[in-house]
Structure formats: structure tokens, C-alpha cells
Symmetry: C2
């Protein structure tokens, strides 16, 4: 099985992308690595590493899509970009199991939809990160976290079905699905939620547990949180921002005085395990759920550790056969709701 | 000037509400306190305190609206509830300067709109908390944070104008107004944002600085963040939840071992100043912006300190004459947008 990696996506490409990908090779022997991007530069960079050359190949792509470019225009105008070339390969080569990119989120999403294609029956794919919760070892999926700024009711219902399939693939039994709302009571929500809620409640193939307030996203109470892509994005980034403010304030306290530094030494383990727990971007990427093969978006600022973990995640996801599970879920239900 | 306080609103009413209100009396001599609620119980409770009896009166209200009741129904069916009685008094008595309640948010908002009335020209009032930022001493206003789950473009534009008037009242010169979005670039946003953005940009009486990502709400970069009530609520509660997770994890680390406890002692000052900074609910309440007089919603879990600070805040706000400033802002601009 081949895992395709966008060597020219992200703030630290190609150096950190290649370093991370190579170290993933060492940890898991089940896959072959295909680095996508400018061949000469990749070859030059690879000289610094020793690896099993039979497990590494390069797929040449002379163009690069930047985060400043309008995604749809960029995907159309740059057929030789690393993203476009990778999706073509992912679609056409049955051995290609998954694609990892830390590049432009918009271009990855548009490319996946246009070049790789949606799973039959899925109207809009969704971006789905795995977040840590306060309960040790328990994670929560939040979708859509930003692929679709405007959602129709049918999209939200499909997010719930896809999220449930994803959680089940990760080994969660009978995952608890909640709808992000402005309160926990059934009647809370905006007009969109009011259309979606009764339909989610009527579905037989998922375990819908009702509305979830944003303050409980990380409570460990839920396995999947369903949101439109705008509020999902707001939730995700609000949490990131707030966590950043707390950690920065503590850092200032620790480094601001001798007393602080001593306290910091005693609490070193607490702080580092906290940082490790919260730093979900280092543990892997967000799955773009609803396209024909696993596409995983790593954070733009990813360094080698994040890339290594995302590649290892891609190997697992390529084995899940999540597309089939989604198709199964979609076919189990007859959904009557506004499209 | 009289400040009306809902003695029967909130998880800790009437005990903590009365305690907090009385201690506000001691700190600020400029106002008279009117406690609204069941007279006999308030009188009994007041026996435990010494205060200038000329500055304290009771407005009897035999009914109580609970958080479980549907707000519109409750306001209509309970004309003798503390909330209904308070709004009647606030409307009819020119000496009544502001109202503070820790009771049902929905009932306070509905009551304010129906009984007290909106400022002429304001289509939908908005709930507007004052949040701390990473920059010491700098706060940010977030509106609407939950009064209107569904907003029209005109509502959002009015939120920007009202938020600017509020920030100016607090002494912020030329406040920076941003629109909450899923990215900072001008073209980001959902369909609602796309309608609102160009209008905000065209306004002459506010300093609109563009889109703000949710991760930057607490950055100190902005003075006012404009959002529809659903995403504003999601942002606010996501931040609350994430901060709670971090603080809880640290607490577990500190109390979990001897080493942790020692570290905690050395960092006591850091932790307590951090907790103080983040605990905005203790500093005052959220202003319900756009109704004829200041209505301030304290957190439902408020204890005496939070109530004291909210009453002191109410005294200041009663002096602002914010309604006139809002009317002025609304009249300065001719707004062409979907209602």
C-alpha cells in the first residue's frame, strides 16, 4: 500500500515533511512512501537520510499551490501542482491508499472533491479533526470543522452518519453523536438545527444523544459533535485560542520570577503532559470525510513529529475502508430533509 | 439613582444576591438599592446585615421565573414575577437607572424586550459580555453572544454600531470592530457574513478592521467582535470549556503528587492571578444592549462577589447614557441591507 505525501505543502516544507515521512517509514513497515513534488529538490533532500530505497518513490510535480491562492482557481490552473498530481494518482492507482498534506486547506478540499471525487450519496464532504478530551485516552470528533461555511440540513445529517462511521472505525462502540447548539435542551438551536434535530433523532443507525453546548465539547461525554462548518470552525479555533491564552499566561508566570521558575521545575511533568495532551495537531491530521479515499490534512505549521504521526495515521486509515462504512451507513437510512 | 436587583434570580438566590448587593452599597454611595422579590423573605434576610436603611427598599414580587420555563410564556403568565415587576418599574420610574439579574437569561431578554422596550431603530437587542484578553487591562466585547440564534444582516450591522457605542462608553477611543469569521481574509465567511462585511466596511461612524478568526478573540487585537447569536454563543462557551479543561488538568497535576503540591505553592500567585483574570463572570455581567435602559445579566452561578461587582457595574452603566449614544450612532448612518 502506498501513502502519498505532499512534500510541498505547509510552512516547513519540504524539509520537515520529508524528515517526518522518513521517520514514519522506520516505525511502520506496512507501507510505501510516495513523496509528491519537485523531484530534484526532493532527491537532494533525501540524500541526508538512510532508508530502504525500495519503499520510497517520488511523484514529480513542478508546481506549488500557496495558501494565498483562491483554491478553486489554483486547482484548475495548476494541474501540475503537488496537490493536483497527488489526487490524480490517488484516484487512478489502486495501490495508493491515502494522501497527506500540510498545504492549503482550501486547495486540498477542493482538489479532493473535484479530482478524487465524493463517495456516492455524500453531498458535501466535511473536515473532521480528532480532539483530546478531559477524560484520559478519550477523543472526540468535530465535524464539519470548516469545509462548508454554509450547510443545508441534509449536509448536517450526513455529517452525523459519516462521523458515526468514522468513530466506529476507530473502535468506538455505539458512538454518542451530539448536535452543537446554544444549549442542551431539545428546543435550543438556530433554524438550521431545528430542521436537523428531529431527523437525527429519527435515525436508527446512529446513537444521537441530543444537543451539546460548546462548553462541553471536550468533556468526554460525546464521541462525535456535528456542526455546520462555520460554527464548527468557530468552536475549534475558539478552543485553540483560549488554550493558547492560558498556556501563555502560565509561561509568563513561570519565567517571570525565580519563584515561578522553581515552581515550574516541580510541575514540569504536569505542564509537559498537559501540553502533549492539548497539542492535538502533533498527533495527526484532520480527516476529510466523504471523499473516495482517506485524505488527511495536517496543520500548516506541522514539523517532523506531526508529519510522522499523520503519515502513520494515514496508514491505519487506508486499512479501515471507511468509504465502504460510510456508504453502508448512508444506505441504511432513508432521509427526508431539505437538500 | 436606583439600581434594581432581582433578588430571586440565580442558583444562589436570594442569599448571595442580597449579600452582594449590600456590599456594593458600602463601596459606592451614589445609588439606592431596590431588591425585587418576595418581600417577607427579603426582609428576613436583610436582618443579618447593617446598612443605611434609607438607601434600601424592597419591591414586592410574589412569583419567580425558573430557568426551566419557556421564557416568553413565563413573562406573559407571570406578571408578578421578580423579572416582570422589575422591568415595569424600570420603564415607569425615571429614577430607576438599571436592572441586574442572575435569573433565567431567556426570561430577562424577553422581559427586557417586551416590558422595557427596544431603543428606537434597534431591530434586535444583543447580549454582550466583556471578556478579558491576553493584554493586561484590555477587554473585548463579544456580541451577540446568545440572544438571537438566527440573525439577519441588519441585526449584525446594528450589533457593530451598538458595540462601538458601548466600547466608547467604556472609554475606548476609536474602538476596533471585527466580524467573527472562519478566516481573516476579506472573502472568508458564510453567506450571512458576506452580506454584512461590505456594509460594515462602508460605515463611517465605526472603525471596522475586517474579519477576526475565533482563535484571536482574546488576543487583545480587537475591542468589539460582532457575531450572530449562535456562533457568538458557540465561541463564548467553547472558550469557557477549553479554559475549564486546562485549569482542571493543572489542578489534577498540582494535587496529584507531593512534587505537584510544592510546585503549586511556588506558582500560587501565577495561578491565582490567572484564575482571577479568566474568571470574567466574577467581574460583572453581560449587558443586554439595545433596550431602553441598562439591563445586566449576571451568571446564573453568581455568588456575592460577582453580584457586588455587577451592581457596581450597573451604577456606572446607568450614568453612561448608552441608549442615547446608540441612538446617535444609528442615526449617523444610512444602512442599506436585508432586514
Amino acid at each position: 500500500m502506498k501513502i502519498l505525501v505532499d512534500a510541498f505543502g505547509g510552512d516547513n516544507s519540504p524539509k520537515e515533511i520529508i524528515a517526518g515521512s522518513i521517520s514514519a517509514l522506520e516505525e511502520n513497515k506496512e507501507f510505501e512512501l510516495v513523496l509528491v513534488g519537485k523531484k530534484e529538490i526532493i532527491e537532494e533532500e533525501l540524500k541526508g537520510y538512510s532508508f530502504d530505497s525500495e519503499r520510497v518513490s517520488i511523484l514529480n510535480a513542478e508546481e506549488v499551490i500557496t495558501c494565498e491562492e483562491e483554491p478553486t482557481v489554483a486547482i484548475r490552473r495548476k494541474p501540475n501542482s503537488s496537490i493536483s498530481v497527488a489526487f490524480k494518482e490517488l484516484k487512478e492507482n489502486s495501490e495508493a491508499g491515502a494522501f497527506v498534506s500540510a498545504g492549503s486547506t482550501g486547495a486540498v478540499l477542493v482538489g479532493a472533491t473535484l479530482k478524487l471525487g465524493r463517495i456516492k450519496g455524500v453531498n458535501r464532504p466535511a473536515l473532521c479533526p480528532l480532539l483530546p478530551t478531559i477524560v484520559d485516552g478519550k477523543q472526540v470528533l468535530l465535524l464539519d470543522s470548516g469545509a462548508n461555511a454554509d450547510c443545508k440540513p441534509i449536509n448536517m445529517v450526513q455529517f452525523a452518519l459519516m462521523g458515526s462511521a468514522y468513530a466506529e472505525s476507530l473502535g468506538v462502540k455505539n458512538p454518542k453523536i451530539a448536535l452543537l447548539s446554544n444549549g442542551t435542551e431539545d428546543e435550543k438551536g438556530n433554524a438550521l438545527n431545528h430542521e436537523v434535530f428531529p431527523v437525527l433523532k429519527s435515525l436508527k443507525s446512529i446513537n444521537f444523544v441530543g444537543n451539546c453546548e460548546a462548553r462541553d465539547i471536550l468533556s468526554g461525554e460525546y464521541d462525535v459533535i456535528v456542526a455546520d462548518g462555520f460554527s464548527g470552525n468557530v468552536a475549534l479555533k475558539s478552543m485553540e485560542g483560549a488554550i493558547g491564552v492560558v498556556l501563555k499566561s502560565i509561561k509568563q508566570g513561570v519565567y517571570g520570577s525565580i519563584k515561578g521558575k522553581i515552581g515550574g521545575l516541580f510541575l514540569k511533568k504536569t505542564f509537559s503532559s498537559l501540553k502533549d495532551k492539548l497539542d492535538y495537531n502533533n498527533k495527526g491530521g484532520a480527516l476529510f470525510l466523504g471523499v473516495n479515499k482517506p485524505v488527511i490534512k495536517a496543520h500548516g505549521s506541522s514539523k517532523r513529529l506531526a508529519i510522522k504521526n499523520t503519515v502513520l495515521q494515514a496508514v491505519e486509515y487506508a486499512k479501515f475502508n471507511i468509504s465502504e462504512k460510510i456508504t453502508e451507513k448512508l444506505n441504511q437510512e432513508e432521509i427526508k430533509i431539505g437538500e
